[in-house]
Subunit: 160 residues, 6 copies
């Protein structure tokens, strides 16, 4: 047994049967960052305060991206997403933007992929909007912070 | 002037006018990785050889993800994508999988976002398929390697 | 407090958490119209009776549009829509077509946006199909007629 | 002859053949409004200045909606949209928000439907975000202001 | 009465109201085939074993296609799909590939269309991947094998 | 060499590079049928004439389905479709409905898959609308009739 539940006994990919699972409240939190130069970060921060709201656009893209998760990830179940919140904050030490997404549902499977897709889409949108001033930004640190609910129980990421 | 071309003079987000640009061949290459334990990597590698083709599924998800780029990234132009290739290879030193995507078009804007979205979608799909055995995998190193074509000319990432 | 529930305390847009709400039957009815010349209306009416069913195409577009609501409206929850009906009828006094959409679900949030999106998509489709004969048609009167169900209770539009 | 080009000689709906048309620059401008109480407008205006950027969210929704036009309108051709700009401004006399969208392409058919869909989606999004404070807002005045380019030439709306 | 439930008493198409139905477990199984030359089948079979996994790609396309059913079929309800499995096997007697899809949900309507759409999408994908070597392949035998659950009860296809 | 162009030399699936191909007019015609009982066909035919236009709904679904082809078929290029026509006609000998779709583009690749997807979506929609009266309908005979244009030249199906 490989433990890869997305494949059946013959190794064929399938969407796992969750029809017998009970609906329960599930929450997942994921994070990631976009690393950039101090100059690019300053442009984004000044823009947000006045003109050119990179952070507002990226937040909305992340929220909408969460709703497209089952379209993008082949074996992901479509889910009635009940909440999406995406935060972006400047981190001068990175330097860059740190993104955190929280997704909740009352359903039969978890929303880990929805939270990760929200973060990823928000980071890609930041890259898109700032690439005219810096092309060598890097997206990284994309990982699950926690999940709660469901049969497998709660999980919290170890300190990085 | 902030240099953020996705905002107009009043700071309002817009999709930049490219109608006067000539169609030209454009190629972009992006990369990224999924870091995991040696055990998870071994499961994926054995699965690909025999049963449970994680890499094949992730490659296809990356290709299809490139086609959804303008749906996901708010200010991205829809483009007639002419080529998408996504490579995944195991790297024991990471340990994990390294992903590289090459996207080409003959169009009025570049395909940097399509290449980055392909890599990001492939990485997320790897995470989805292996999360039953390891939840603390990390996605990172997502960046543009090169772009060619278009008025702004060719660009190559500096050595990391 | 602004009362705008789609923003959190810091003013950031978010998709409101409805995971704690109970599933209940909810119905929304919306209306709108396309105003056109008497000649255009006559063409549409004769077409529907014989050849060129503008009303049939617009009705179907409205039904399918309701299913795309959460894709289009950034902070709208995806919902398992249980019913969509779209009616179009000629109004010689307008002159033009009046559109009414009824949407129902058993879910955690209302279907006001689904009903309004159905009407809007049907009206846009009428415009598309008749614009070869008249470009200065106008779409208007798009508003909610009633909603029932949910914690906030029933609501009925005041007489216009 | 009815003049309804979206139907063939037998009255069957079809997507008109534009393959023989030359690519040319085409621009369309459309407008519409959301009528609301003075109180709701004040909340939106104060929100935009400080917290809760209804106008920013609606603008982005309008831009993204333009890209979904051929998904929503059954007989509309998919087009490589080259530009989308959506403006929203408060009008105390309405009272409410006036929305204007400008869409451009270099293609074989016009972008009237894309401009109208952008306005419609932005208006629906305003409704969604403000409906917690006022349910009887009305969307109207949705019409084409002008189109340029293409074989049928330029067109400008008569004064309303 | 025609018995066509997708039309109301006036003959207008509508999405049938299922809001009063109870959620129950429902399963549907559908099948179909792609007929091809012995040579084409041999190429596909050798490819799957070594290079060029036509069957793996088609299986994934079928699974993802099931999730797009309510986007494609106008009057189909969106459903929280709980399971999709798609099998493809070579049949030397056909000669060609036989496809079977099983879809499950816990919902208010059946998943017959989802199972048929999965089979259809998998067959079309096989055609796409092999059309460079044979253009006159044929897709056929697409039918429902069984459905279980729901008020109308279980159904099993008669022997063909 | 297998001749399967959707795989590279290592057997990995990719979207073939068409960026160097010239834009040219391309047309594809595909066909298929839905076999049903004489009673079901009679219901559909009477419905179309008076109430319940199954054929009109299926035609529109086929046209819209053609536009979703590159979303559904993993390695299919997105294309600016220039024309879609879908015909359905009753065949008492089948008995059932015969569907023919014609798709045209001016682009870098052919529209065979778009024509086949249009037929398939129209057939599935007929099944959906009539399944309340007959569940054992069968979809078959889905094949390419002809293609013209492109480097590989014209092709016409042999007589069946």
């Amino acid at each position: 047994m490989t433990g890869l539940t997305h494949f059946d006994a013959e190794g064929a990919a399938h969407m796992v049967d969750v029809s017998a699972k009970a609906d329960s409240k599930r929450v997942a939190v994921a994070t990631g960052w976009v690393k950039m130069s101090t100059e690019t970060l300053a442009i984004i921060e000044s823009g947000t305060a006045a003109k050119g709201d990179v952070i507002g656009v990226a937040r909305l893209a992340g929220i909408m991206g969460a709703k497209r998760t089952s379209d993008l990830i082949p074996l992901c179940h479509p889910l009635p997403i009940a909440k999406v919140a995406v935060e972006l904050e400047a981190d001068d030490a990175l330097p860059g933007l740190r993104v955190t997404a929280t997704v909740a549902t009352t359903g039969k499977t978890g929303v880990e992929m929805e939270a990760l897709t929200a973060v990823s889409t928000a980071c890609l949108t930041v890259y898109d909007m700032a690439k005219a001033v810096q092309k060598d930004m890097e997206i990284g640190g994309l990982r699950l912070l926690s999940k709660t609910g469901g049969k497998s129980g709660d999980w919290k990421a170890p300190a990085p």
